[in-house]
Amino acid sequence: MKRSPTFLIGCVLVALVCAVAVVSLLWLPYDPSDTSGGRLVPPGGAHWLGTDKLGRDLLSRLMVGARIALTVGFGSVLVGGVLGVTAGLLAGFATRWLDDTISAVLDILIAFPTLLLAMLVVAVRQASLGSAVLAIGLAMSAIVARLTRVLVKRVLAQDYITASRTSGTSWPRVVTEHVLPNIWPTLLVNLALQLGLAVLAEASLSYLGLGPPPPNASWGRLLQEAQATVLTAPTGAIAPGVLLVVLVVGVNLVADGFRDLADPTRRRSR
């Protein structure tokens, strides 16, 4: 299988962030809650990226933040994927009224901005990593479900499904043998894109103070904390920003790569 260069670049970028997260489990330059570094020490020397207002090492906090970003990204894709695909399959196979009901609920969910939905979840539960994952996953599930439903409907309209049914294949086997194999490439591309969006959504939530509570070093929180000191210590805002871009661009490139692999017309054109 030929791989496009953008796909490779994407993989490298994502792998980089994953590697940082893994390393952070084994080794950190400083304890991320150690306040002995001094106020807003510039990058260099003992603190490669400097320190924040409380004297905490920025590099250590960024490394821990990578862990949070990936947890939220994969966690919410898992929640959104499972819920969304299930609801989508159900709607795709359902009788008229059930399909209408599910679609109406999905329309309402999609109309809700992710942040608003997240605020509601945080209001009901407490602000925590779990709440963030749940909220983002819920918002995502609506989008995934709608896509799944359309894809399923398209497959079910094919003649070979009718043929298969008349020859006595049960519905569950139709799903596993015909539907899922036909829709997963598109779903995978969509889920990969959603992963990037989830990471950004978590950063926005944390920026607004609705993400995992302090002293959790989520990148969004780091950005928010650095905002007041951006004139005197710009690294504090730039570094988490750059990492966010690296991860999200990486994930999007990977998604593009998936699409190229899954789509035969594109494959032929190269």
Partner: protein, 503 residues
């Protein structure tokens, strides 16, 4: 009641949101005044736009900033240094039993509408504050008032049910308003040196010199308050000369651009805002003074202050700021000493430490302070769980339902040490001796006795570590260096503008 504690801070929370939404704030257009220096108009930048123009109808700290002493005057005034002086009252007499106060009004005082000031207006104004639907934070101070009489146009007699030494001080917060005035949330009729020019909501509020003023003429022609929701936009306005002065800077890091610049002067005054780590003194483990002392000693307040304010602000070691008459430096009572903290914890039966949840308001500086406290207390074996809540949640969960172990909160008012005499207050500090002293202080015959008693209160609450008073906020005013005569201590967010001069 919330006005006493968190008045400004709901605005603060909104500010964070607006910062997030409007990354690039817009400064209002620069008005370059070319009038002669002596009669220039002063352009003032502020983050606190009034909600409305009535301080008994939830006008907020913004209306205090713009109107107190400028548009409305009280019988007395609280100076920038914290002293109470006569203003619309020429003199007052107190009966020997302390229950009857007779105020003689200044002659020749006119409202902006032209009507002369009479005792009926004073009675009306005080009753406006004590009225049932009044939202004034000062309402509770007037509980002892039994009746207000007006024997003639220039005399007001206030009869009390019990002695109240703070009456005169409390009256400095009562605006004297024309009793015939209407629509006070959008207009005004006061006696101050300025009258309201125009209020463009969301943008500016201008004050014009009032020619019929009874006292000394203001040194400027008028002032315009420019309101910003974004601190960066506000600082940019100052840098581009769109405003001449900023009433209160909220971040030390924005000051770098003004500090070493000879065109600007940064003044570092005392505010009355204290950041508290307030324990729930009713519930274990914080019902034991020794535990509270241990926690207090385990936290390096000096380092926290340096982290957040970078050299500004001060440590006070108690609830009393230096502008209160009963201030004493009590920072030595519970010094920062980790070994002492460990010893006290062991004595209290918590040698292995304990765990508690810290309810933390979601706006600055609380989350930062909470993270610091968590890391400090970990060193003595205490595990802190930070629970971030909104201002509304704080009001219902902590303030009303007392459902908390410990919390962070800013207390903005001066002379608020007396709340430690109220066992029903949210922090639940219950020391009958302190309650007695606070009551006696209010009943005192002289301010000396009052001061002595409140000093005792102050020392006792520090001994008991009733709360941990982390630090006192600085009041930072930044102004063009050709400006003079502006107030530097933001007492209760007052901002007298009549002395400000350009050039």
């Amino acid at each position: 009641m919330s006005g006493i504690l968190v008045s400004s801070k709901i605005v603060g929370a909104a500010l964070v949101l607006s910062l997030a939404l409007a990354a690039c704030g817009t400064g209002s257009g620069g008005t370059t005044s070319t009038a002669p220096p002596a009669a220039a108009t002063i352009e003032i930048g502020s983050l606190y736009e009034p909600q409305n123009l009535d301080n008994t109808a939830g006008g907020g700290q913004g209306v205090t900033e713009v109107f107190n002493g400028n548009v409305y005057e009280g019988l007395f005034k609280l100076t920038d240094a914290g002293k109470v002086e006569n203003l619309l009252a020429e003199s007052h007499k107190v009966s020997p039993d302390g229950l009857t106060y007779t105020f003689t009004l200044r002659k020749g005082v006119k409202f902006h509408s032209g009507k002369p000031l009479t005792s009926a207006d004073v009675k009306y104004s005080i009753e406006k504050v004590t009225a049932k639907d009044s939202q004034s934070a000062r309402k509770s101070g007037f509980k002892p008032v039994k009746s207000i009489e007006t024997p003639d146009d220039a005399t007001v007699v206030v009869k009390l049910a019990s002695r109240s030494i703070s009456l005169v001080y409390n009256l400095s917060y009562v605006w004297i308003i024309n009793s015939a005035a209407k629509n006070l949330t959008t207009t005004e009729d006061g006696t101050g040196p300025y009258k309201l020019g125009a209020w463009k909501r969301g943008s500016t509020l201008s004050l014009d010199r009032f020619d019929g003023y009874w006292g000394a003429k203001p040194t400027n022609k008028g002032v315009v308050f420019h309101y910003f929701t974004d601190a960066t936009a506000l600082n940019n306005a100052l840098l581009t000369n769109a405003v001449d002065i900023v009433t209160s800077e909220q971040s030390p890091d924005a000051l770098a651009q003004f500090k070493d610049n000879k065109d600007y002067r940064v003044s570092d005054g005392h505010s009355t805002t204290k950041l508290l780590l307030a324990f729930n003194d009713r519930k274990a483990p914080f019902d034991k003074p020794l535990v509270r002392k241990a926690v207090t000693s385990a936290i390096d307040n000096a380092k926290l202050l340096e982290s957040i304010w970078a050299g500004y602000g001060s440590l006070i070691g108690s609830m009393v700021p230096p502008t209160d008459p009963w201030y004493e430096d009590l920072t030595k009572v519970n010094p920062y000493d980790v070994n002492l903290a460990k010893k006290e914890l062991a004595e209290a039966g918590y040698a292995k430490g304990f765990a508690f949840t810290l309810d933390t308001p979601n706006y600055d500086p609380h989350p930062t302070a909470a993270a610091f406290i968590k890391s400090e207390l970990a060193k003595v074996g205490i595990t802190v769980t930070i629970n971030v809540i909104t201002a509304d949640e704080w009001y219902s969960k902590v303030y009303k339902n007392r459902d908390f172990a410990a919390t962070l909160q800013e207390h903005v008012n001066d002379r608020d040490v007396v709340w430690y005499g109220d066992p029903d207050f949210y922090w639940g500090y219950d020391n009958p001796q302190v309650t007695k002293w606070v009551a006696e202080a209010e009943q005192a015959e002289t301010t000396e006795v009052q001061t002595e008693l409140l000093k005792k209160v102050n020392r006792q609450i520090a001994e008991d570590a009733a709360s941990d008073w982390l630090y006192l906020y600085p009041q930072i005013v930044v102004a063009s260096s050709d400006l003079s005569g502006y107030p530097i201590n933001g007492l209760n967010s007052q901002f007298y503008v009549y002395g400000i001069k350009k050039g």
